[in-house]
C-alpha cells in the first residue's frame, strides 16, 4: 500500500489566505521543507506559496518561519480543504 494524499476540497475560491512577505523572506526554505503539500516554491531569491490550491491548511509554514515572512490568514467560509472522517 502506498501513502496516497487523498484529500478533498470544497468548491469555491479560498482567497489568498497564505502570502509571503517579500521584504522579510530570506529564502531559507524552511517553509518548503516543512510543507507536506509542496505549496511553497522557490522564485528567484525567495519562496512563494504558488500551489496554494493544494494547501491542507496545517499552518506548519507559519509556525516554522524564523523571519515572520509567512502571512497566514484563513480561507473563506465553506472553502478549502475538507477531510473525510475528520
Amino acid at each position: 500500500m502506498k501513502v496516497d494524499m487523498k484529500v478533498d476540497y470544497y468548491p469555491g475560491d479560498t482567497g489568498e489566505f497564505i502570502k509571503v512577505d517579500e521584504e522579510k523572506c530570506t529564502g531559507c526554505g524552511d517553509c518548503a521543507k516543512f510543507c507536506t503539500r509542496n505549496v511553497w516554491v522557490k522564485d528567484g531569491e525567495i519562496y512563494r506559496p504558488k500551489n496554494l490550491k493544494d494547501c491542507a491548511e496545517c499552518g506548519a509554514c507559519w509556525n516554522i518561519c524564523d523571519f515572520d515572512a509567512v502571512i497566514f490568514g484563513e480561507p473563506k467560509g465553506g472553502t478549502g480543504v475538507r477531510f473525510e472522517f475528520g
Binding site: M1, D4, F34, G77, G78, E84, G86
Partner: protein
C-alpha cells in the same frame, strides 16, 4: 457531587466595575441588536459546541461560528474519546453521539530488527475509549448546541477581531459581517486566528509542536472486526516516527493510522523528507502490512498539535479553550476531553462574568482556571504526560524504544510518572518530590477505579439517545 449549573444559580454578591458599562442583557432582552450576543463562540470542533451548548443552557444568547460546511470536515484527529473523562457528569451526554466503535483493549508493539515484542493490555472491565469520526461527531454535537438554543452559522470564517479601546468586543467574518459579544470564546483550534490576533498564540515549533499525518484505510467492518477488533494499537519501529508514538485506531469499517513528529531540526533527515515517509515506513512494517492487506486508502489528513501550555488563556472579554488554549496532554496527544471540559468551563466563567458585570481578564481567568484546577482527570493526565514527555524528549531514539518496554500506556504511564518522581526524590534526598509522587498516587485513585460503573453510565446514555 456538583450541582448541575453551579455558576449562575449561586447567589453571589455582584462585583460592579464602573469601567465595564455593558448591561446585563439576556436572551429575551429586546435591547440586544441582531448582531449582538452575550457570547460568541468561534469554531465547532470539540470545545466550541460544548461551550455553545452550555452557554445556551445557562440562558445566554449565543452565536457559534464555524468555517467548514459541515462541522468536523476541517478537523484531523485520532478520534478516540477517553471514557475516564466522559464519566464526568459534565461530559456524560457525549456518550449519546454517533460512535463508530467501543474500545476495550490496547496493544503495543515494539519493533526492532531483532524482534517484535507485543503487549496486550485490558486495563479494566470498563470501556476505555469511544472511537468516533469527527465529521459525524462534531456535526452531531453542533446540532445539540442548536437544540439547546445556540444560533449556528456554518461556512463562516472569522477573519479578524474587533477591538475597542484595547478590549475585544466582537469578530469580523469573511463576508464582512460584524458580530458583537460580551465574551468571546475562542475554540478555533491550534492555529486560531483569534488567539493570534489577540496576541496570546505565538508561533511554535521544536519540542512544542507536532506535525501529524493520518491515513484512513477502508477494510470493511468484517475485516476490521477480525484483524483489529475493539483494540487500539501503538507501534514503535525504526524510522516510523520522530519522538511520537504511531498508532492505529479502528473505526467501524475504516482504520485510522497516525504518525509524525516534533517540529525540530531532526524531523526530516536522511531518507525522511516528509511525514509521509514515516507513514510509508510504518505501513510497510510486516505486522501492519499484513493487517492492511486488501485495504484501500480512503482519506489522508495533516494537522499540527501543540502540546505545551499557552502562557495566558484570557484577556478582557476573551477566553481561549481547547487547542487554542494549549489544553492538550503533552506527549500523549490527547486533547478532545480537555477541549470539551474547557469549552464548558469557559461558558460557565462567561456566564459568571455577565452576572457580575466584570469582564476583566483576571475575573475570567479566576473562574475558568478554578474549574480546571479541580478537575482530577485534567490535572493527573497533564502531570503524567509532562513527566513522560520530559524523559522522552531527552533520549535518543534507541533509548526511547527501550524505555517504552517499561511504559505501557495507561497503567504504565502512571507508574512511570510516580516512579520517576519518587526515585528522583530518593536519589537527591528531596522529600518534596517523594511527597509529590505520593500525593499524586492518592489523587488518581478515583480515575483508577473507573471500571464497570462506566459501562452502566454508557448503557444508560445510549438508551436515552
Amino acid at each position: 457531587m456538583r450541582t448541575k449549573f453551579p455558576t449562575i444559580r449561586r447567589n453571589e454578591k455582584r462585583k460592579t466595575q464602573p469601567s465595564q458599562n455593558i448591561t446585563n442583557n439576556k436572551k429575551d432582552d429586546l435591547s440586544m441588536g441582531n448582531s449582538e450576543y452575550d457570547i460568541i463562540v468561534v469554531g465547532a470542533g470539540c470545545a466550541g459546541p460544548a461551550a455553545a451548548k452550555k452557554a445556551a443552557e445557562l440562558g445566554l444568547k449565543v452565536l457559534l461560528l464555524e468555517k467548514s460546511q459541515k462541522p468536523g470536515e476541517k478537523n484531523v484527529s485520532g478520534t478516540c474519546l477517553n471514557m475516564a473523562a466522559l464519566v464526568d457528569p459534565d461530559l456524560q451526554y457525549l456518550m449519546k453521539g454517533p460512535i463508530e466503535r467501543e474500545i476495550t483493549e490496547m496493544h503495543t508493539y515494539m519493533i526492532t530488527p531483532e524482534r517484535t515484542t507485543m503487549m496486550r493490555e485490558t486495563p479494566s472491565e470498563g470501556l476505555i475509549l469511544l472511537s468516533v469520526r469527527r465529521d459525524e461527531y462534531d456535526a452531531w454535537h453542533t446540532e445539540e448546541a442548536k437544540k439547546a438554543g445556540a444560533e449556528v452559522k456554518l461556512s463562516t470564517t472569522v477573519m479578524d477581531i474587533i477591538e475597542e479601546n484595547g478590549t475585544i468586543t466582537g469578530v469580523v467574518t469573511d463576508s464582512g459581517e460584524k458580530y458583537f459579544g460580551k465574551v468571546i470564546i475562542d475554540a478555533a483550534g491550534v492555529n486560531s486566528i483569534i488567539g493570534r490576533k489577540a496576541g496570546l498564540i505565538p508561533k511554535r515549533k521544536g519540542d512544542k509542536m507536532i506535525l501529524y499525518t493520518i491515513l484512513n484505510v477502508w477494510l470493511g467492518e468484517e475485516v476490521v472486526n477480525e484483524r483489529f477488533g475493539n483494540s487500539i494499537y501503538y507501534f514503535l519501529g525504526p524510522n516510523t516516527q520522530h519522538k511520537t508514538w504511531p498508532w492505529i485506531f479502528p473505526k467501524k469499517d475504516v482504520v485510522t493510522i497516525g504518525t509524525g513528529g516534533y517540529m525540530d531540526d531532526d524531523l526530516f533527515k536522511g531518507d525522511i523528507k516528509s511525514v509521509n515517509d514515516y507513514m510509508q515506513n510504518l505501513i510497510d512494517l510486516p505486522i501492519i502490512k499484513e493487517k492492511l492487506e486488501g485495504g484501500k486508502v480512503e482519506a489522508w489528513g495533516l494537522h499540527l498539535e501543540f502540546d505545551e501550555e499557552v502562557e495566558k488563556r484570557t484577556k478582557d472579554r476573551l477566553i481561549l479553550t481547547g487547542e487554542a488554549g494549549g489544553f492538550v496532554i503533552p506527549f500523549l496527544g490527547e486533547g478532545m476531553p480537555e477541549a470539551l471540559f474547557t469549552g464548558i468551563y469557559a461558558a460557565e466563567a462567561a456566564a459568571k462574568a455577565i452576572e457580575a458585570n466584570d469582564f476583566s481578564a483576571e475575573f475570567l481567568e479566576e473562574h475558568f482556571m478554578s474549574r480546571i484546577n479541580e478537575n482530577v482527570f485534567m490535572q493527573s493526565f497533564r502531570y503524567i504526560a509532562d513527566l513522560n514527555k520530559k524523559s522522552i524528549m531527552s533520549m535518543p531514539d534507541q533509548e526511547i524504544a527501550a524505555m517504552m518496554q517499561n511504559v505501557v500506556i495507561g497503567g504504565g504511564f502512571i507508574s512511570n510518572a510516580i516512579h520517576t518522581s519518587w526515585m528522583k526524590g530518593a536519589e537527591e534526598d528531596d522529600m518534596g518530590l517523594v511527597q509529590d509522587a505520593k500525593d499524586f498516587y492518592d489523587l488518581i485513585q478515583p480515575y483508577r477505579q473507573v471500571g464497570s460503573e462506566s459501562v452502566e453510565i454508557y448503557k444508560k446514555m445510549r438508551a436515552e439517545k
